[in-house]
Structure formats: C-alpha cells, structure tokens
C-alpha cells in the first residue's frame, strides 16, 4: 500500500508539473497550449544536449536546460503567439498544435529517434531509496516530487505576493481593467509562456533522467491535459488535487484492476468531470461560460 501511495505521488508530481503549464498559459491568455507535452520532450533534449556539451557537470547542465526551456517559452510567444493577437482563440490553439508537430520533427531531425539517457553524461546515478513501510522509489522519483512541490510553492508565492505575479493575475482575471491600469500585456503573456515551458521543461528534465528520453514522450502531455481540465483550466490550485486523483486512479487500476484501464483512466476522469462539473474541481463556472 505504501508503495502504491509513493508511486501515485511520483506520477501525480509529473502530471502537476505539466498541468501547471496548461493553466498558466490559459489563465493569462485564454489559449489552450496543446504543445505542452512537446515542451516536456524538448526540456529532456535540452538536458541531453547540455550534458553532452558539459559532461560530468550537472551543476551546469541542469540549470542550463531549465533556462533554455524557459527561453523557448518566450520565443514561442514572441514568434508565434504574439502575431495571433486579435485573431480568434481557436486559431492560436491551432498554432500550438502546429508548434507541437514542428517540435517533434525538429527533435528527430537533430537528435534522431534513438532512446537517450541523459544521466550517462551527467555522471549521476539513480539508486533506489527505501522508504518507511517497505516502499522503494528511485532517487529521481524523489526529485520529481520535490521539484513539483517547490515549483508550486514558488508559483503561489509569486502570484500572490510579487507585483509581477499580481499583474499576471489581473491580466488573466480582468483584462480590460488591467489594460486601463497600464499593465504590459505582452510582457505578462511572454512570462506566462516562459513559466509554462519552464514547468514542462522541468518535467522533461526529471523524467528523462529517471526513465528515458525519446521523441514520443509528448503523449504524457495529453494525460496532463486531462488533469488540467479536471482541476479547472483557470485554477492553479486545482491542478494538485486533480493530479493526485488522476494518478491515484491510474495506479490503482494497474495494481488492483485491469492494467489496460490505466491508459484511458485520465480521460475517464475527464469524462466524468465534464458530465458532473464541466468547469472542473476548482475552475470557475463563469469562465467556462465565457469560453
């Protein structure tokens, strides 16, 4: 049971990191970023490239990969999303779909389709860590949980306390008033994209260190999309219970039910949520109506 709980927390942490990316972009700009899974993959490949460039130097490679991920978010906004201002939202969503396809192709072109393991070049190992109650997790399982926890604490503090965070919330919640107050919308949107890509990149960095890195990791983004919708697309706080719920159902279906259900369980959760509470666990009803 303890092992099941530990695994649930690891999977939930992965989904929470990815889910945060969806929510951050949506809250700020009302755009569904369907390339979030590809930003995860890209983060992993940034780590692989950084580790190859600076072998045996994780203190350089890990922050460099995270920084490149955030920078990618800014570039995506400046090059692709900013020109979409004034166009219907669905056009911007289609741009994110295209972005995902292009990123996948670019990754195969640059890094090939081979499975990679960045830890080899980082000179790090991933030994098992026994937990109380007989459970065992890997070191990077613990890193995944710690990363998600730290990111969410930092995001909450940033959005609640920092002037820039408050501007982000204002731009998302009352865009007209915010614009009249002189908030720099493009700066806020670029920051939202940077944070989303950073969160996705962190997920990719830790996942590729723990499991594997290959161009097809973007499928994880689809599962996390269900998490973001279950939590409420405009609610960062909703991501956490939604991630735990979806991960728990997935892990429990493998352990005590039919393992094949695990593949569809995030979408079953989503379906149930859409039937009983379409705006998600912590989303706002008005927001849904506006959409």
């Amino acid at each position: 049971m303890v092992q099941t709980l530990a695994t649930t927390l690891v999977v939930a942490s992965l989904y929470a990191l990815l889910g945060a990316g969806y929510v951050l972009v949506y809250r700020a700009s009302r755009v569904l970023n369907l390339a979030q899974g590809d930003l995860l993959t890209l983060g992993g490949y940034f780590l692989f490239a950084a580790a190859a460039a600076f072998p045996g130097a994780p203190a350089v490679s890990l922050p460099l990969a995270a920084a490149l991920s955030a920078l990618t978010g800014v570039l995506v906004y400046l090059v692709l999303m900013r020109p979409m201002a004034g166009h219907p939202v669905f056009a911007a969503v289609l741009v994110t779909v295209t972005l995902g396809i292009l990123l996948r192709a670019a990754i195969v072109f640059v890094f090939t389709d081979r499975t990679r393991h960045p830890l080899q070049n980082l000179a790090l190992t991933n030994p098992p860590r026994p937990l109380p109650g007989g459970a065992v997790v890997s070191t990077f399982d613990l890193v995944m949980i710690a990363t998600a926890t730290l990111l969410f604490v930092a995001l909450f503090l940033f959005l609640r306390l920092s002037p820039l965070g408050i501007q982000m919330r204002a731009a998302g919640e009352r865009s007209l008033l915010a614009s009249q107050r002189g908030i720099n919308f493009h700066g806020v949107f670029a920051l939202a994209w940077a944070l989303a890509a950073f969160a996705g990149g962190l997920a990719g960095i830790v996942y590729s260190s723990n499991v594997r890195l290959e161009p097809s990791l973007d499928v994880l983004g689809l599962r996390a999309f269900a998490v973001a919708l279950v939590g409420g697309l405009d609610s960062l706080a909703g991501v956490i219970p939604a991630a735990i719920l979806v991960a728990a159902i997935e892990v429990l279906s493998i352990r005590y039910g039919n393992p094949l259900l695990s593949d569809v369980s995030p979408f079953l959760c989503l379906l149930v949520m859409l039937l009983i509470r379409p705006w998600g666990l912590f989303g706002t009803k008005e927001e849904l109506e506006r959409v």
Partner: protein, 389 residues
C-alpha cells in the same frame, strides 16, 4: 555549292548509321520497401532501411546482380497500417517484383493482403516474423528477421529452466498491449507450465505508460524469480528498470532488439539477459568491421543497429542471384524459397529456406548479459540451435 554539302550530309548520315547505338543502361530489378522510417516506431525499423541503402549501394557500385542494378523504392509508412496499405498498392500496381516490409506488426495484414491479391512475394526484414513464414509456409511470404514468435519463447524458457538447476522457479511475463506481444507471452505462460514452472499470469503494459513501477510491483508482489519480456523495446526495458528501482533481485530475460547492446552496457546489471538472434558487435567479427566501415557517414544509428537489415539484404541478394534475368515475381518467389545464405557470423548459422519453410530450417540464439568481473558483455553458453519444423 549545293552538291558538296549534300554529299557531306549523306556521308555523316551513313557514318552515323554505321556507328553502334549508345549503350542502354541495363534494366533494374525493381523492389519496393514499406518501412517505418519516421514516426513513433522508427527507432526499431529505420536502421533496416538504412542498412538496405548501404548494402545495395555497394552492390550497384560493383555492377549490380547478374549485370543488372537493384532499384529499391522506399515508402515511409510511419508505422501506420493505412500508409503501408497505400505503399503496397503502389508496389503491386507497378513493375515491382518483390515487396519488403520493415515496419510494425499492425502493418502486416494490409500489406500481406495486397501481396496475396496480386501475387507479389513479400519479404519481412525488420519486424517479427509472421507465422505465415513458418512451416507450412505461405508461398509468397518470407522472413529474414532474427526473431520469430513461439520460437523465441521456447528458447527463453529453455534457458530459464537450464539456469534454475532443478529448482522450481516462478516466472512472470511482461507484454505490451499489442496483439503480437500478448499472444506470444500467453503462449509462453502455457509453455512454462508444461515445463514444470510456476507461471504468473501475463502482465500487460500499455506502451505509453507514464510509469512502469505499478506493473513492476505486480510482478514483484507475485514473487517472480524470473521475468520474461517479449515486446517493443520501451516496455521490455522499462519494466526491468522499474523492477530494479523497487529493489527486485530476480533475473530478467528480454528479446534483445538493436538497443540491447547499448543498454546492457549502460545498466551494467548481471541479472539482465538479452536473448537475440544476431551476434552483438562487441564480438568484433570481420563482418561487424565490414558493416561499420561501410555505413560510416550514411546512418544516424550506430553500426550495430544495422545487423537485422544487413542480413535481410543478404537474403534478397541471394534470391536475386538465384532468380537470374529476367526475374519475374513468380520466379523470385521460387528462388527465395531455395536460398541458403551464409550470414558470415551475424547469425549462428546459415539462413536456409525451403518450399515449406520460409523462415529458416535452423534458427540460432545467443543470450548476452553484463559480466561485472570482466566489465564487459558476455554470451552465456554460445549459440544455441532450434530446428524449425
């Protein structure tokens, strides 16, 4: 003035008629290949395409076969059945004398249907061999790939039995949620029981699983001493690594796809065994050096990924030589059904096909693992043979 010009023109025309006509390029052997060159599954199949290109470039540079070049048209099916069907349609409607499939198993059926309809021989050169190549073979279906369903399980379970030294072992099975993998491991589960082992029901793993730990936990909780996995590489190695992470101390045997050599070296765990039909390039055979030097600069993959495609190209080469010129579809099918290919050590023995057996009369396996003392990959017991009947 006019007369000399006329005479000169007549002279030129006469001379031109006397000269031999410019040499026409010999007509090629036209072959069509549908392969997962890109897409989610390309890692396992693109190397076959690359090996074919390198192999037949060398053959063509040396003058071709029977004086005719080999022209292979490659279609990227991305591992999608509908694309493979479209490629097969194109090949069967064109002047192609053979189709090659180097793609995932869901592409088999549409390509086989097309081959059957128009009576084009079909050679499987990248994915698992379909049962239609085994005795009694379908007249048009051939397979050069090192792995074949049922035979691989027999060898893996024989190995587990031989390693258990008379002790009753409990064996678990990790399949992927694709029909071929599930059917194979359900067969293995039954076979394990017949061999006197305790068989744990097959654990089926979705290929896109976000975490393999719960699946591994099921195998660990069931008390598996050994786990056998026969699936695409991601699931095979993913379940092993998850078992390793949660502290499982048993032995694991998987089918050694092209990635196995890299992964045995990376993981350095002596309880991971790779069952394979190809000699690993760590053995440094002359054929390995030959392939390595020939594909240099022509592939995105390491040379040892080429073994499967290279062997397949050798089979096609032998078939075309036997077929002669002109070579029709029917004649090539007959020629392939009688090839006896010296694999130069890439495999444990020759690939010998017969009218009834389009797989091979004898198949050979090696089992490799990491030896901590030697800090190297070693084979456990050398080549082992199975008669295909």
């Amino acid at each position: 003035m006019r007369r000399p010009v006329l005479i000169a023109a007549l002279g030129v025309l006469t001379l031109a008629g006397a000269l031999p006509a410019p040499a026409q390029a010999p007509e090629p052997y036209r072959i069509g290949m549908t392969a997962a060159i890109t897409g989610r599954f390309s890692a396992g199949y693109a190397p076959t395409y690359e090996a074919y290109r390198a192999y037949f470039k060398r053959v063509n540079d040396a003058g071709g076969i029977n004086g005719h070049p080999i022209e292979i048209t490659y279609e990227d099916d991305r591992g999608e059945p509908q694309r493979a069907a479209a490629a097969a349609k194109k090949f069967t409607e064109g002047p192609f004398i053979l189709m090659i499939n180097a793609s995932i198993s869901p592409t088999y059926k549409p390509v086989m249907t097309e081959a059957e309809t128009v009576k084009v021989p079909l050679l499987f050169g990248g994915g698992v061999c379909p049962r239609e190549a085994f005795p009694p073979a379908h007249p048009l279906i051939f397979c050069s790939t090192s792995y074949g369903s049922k035979w691989d399980s027999r060898m893996a379970l024989n190995f587990i039995k031989s390693q258990s030294a008379g002790r009753k072992v409990k064996v678990g099975f990790a399949a992927q949620d694709i029909p071929l993998s599930r059917i194979e491991l359900e067969f293995a589960e039954q076979l394990a029981k017949e061999l006197g082992m305790d068989a744990i029901p097959v654990v089926v793993v979705p290929g896109a699983a976000s975490d393999f730990t719960p699946f591994a936990q099921n195998l660990k909780d069931a008390g598996a001493d050994w786990v056998f996995s026969w699936a695409p590489w991601g699931v095979e190695i993913g379940v092993f690594e998850a078992l390793h992470r949660i502290g499982w101390k048993g032995n694991y045997i998987l089918y050694g796809h092209q990635q196995a050599q890299d992964e045995l070296t990376r993981l350095k765990t002596p309880n991971l065994h790779a069952l394979t039909g190809n000699a690993m390039f760590t053995e440094n055979l002359p054929i390995h050096a030959e392939i390595t030097s020939l594909v240099k600069g022509q592939t995105n993959h390491p040379p040892h990924y080429m073994a499967e495609g290279w062997t397949s190209a050798m089979v096609l080469d032998a078939g075309l030589r036997k077929c002669g010129w002109p070579c029709s579809r029917e004649k090539l099918a007959q020629a392939l059904a009688a090839v006896n290919v010296d694999t130069k050590g890439l495999r444990g023995g020759p690939i010998e096909m017969t009218a009834e057996n389009h797989y091979r009369r004898e198949t050979y396996y090696k089992i490799y693992r990491w030896d901590t003392d030697k800090s190297a990959i070693v084979s456990v017991g050398g080549w082992q043979k199975l008669d295909i009947k």
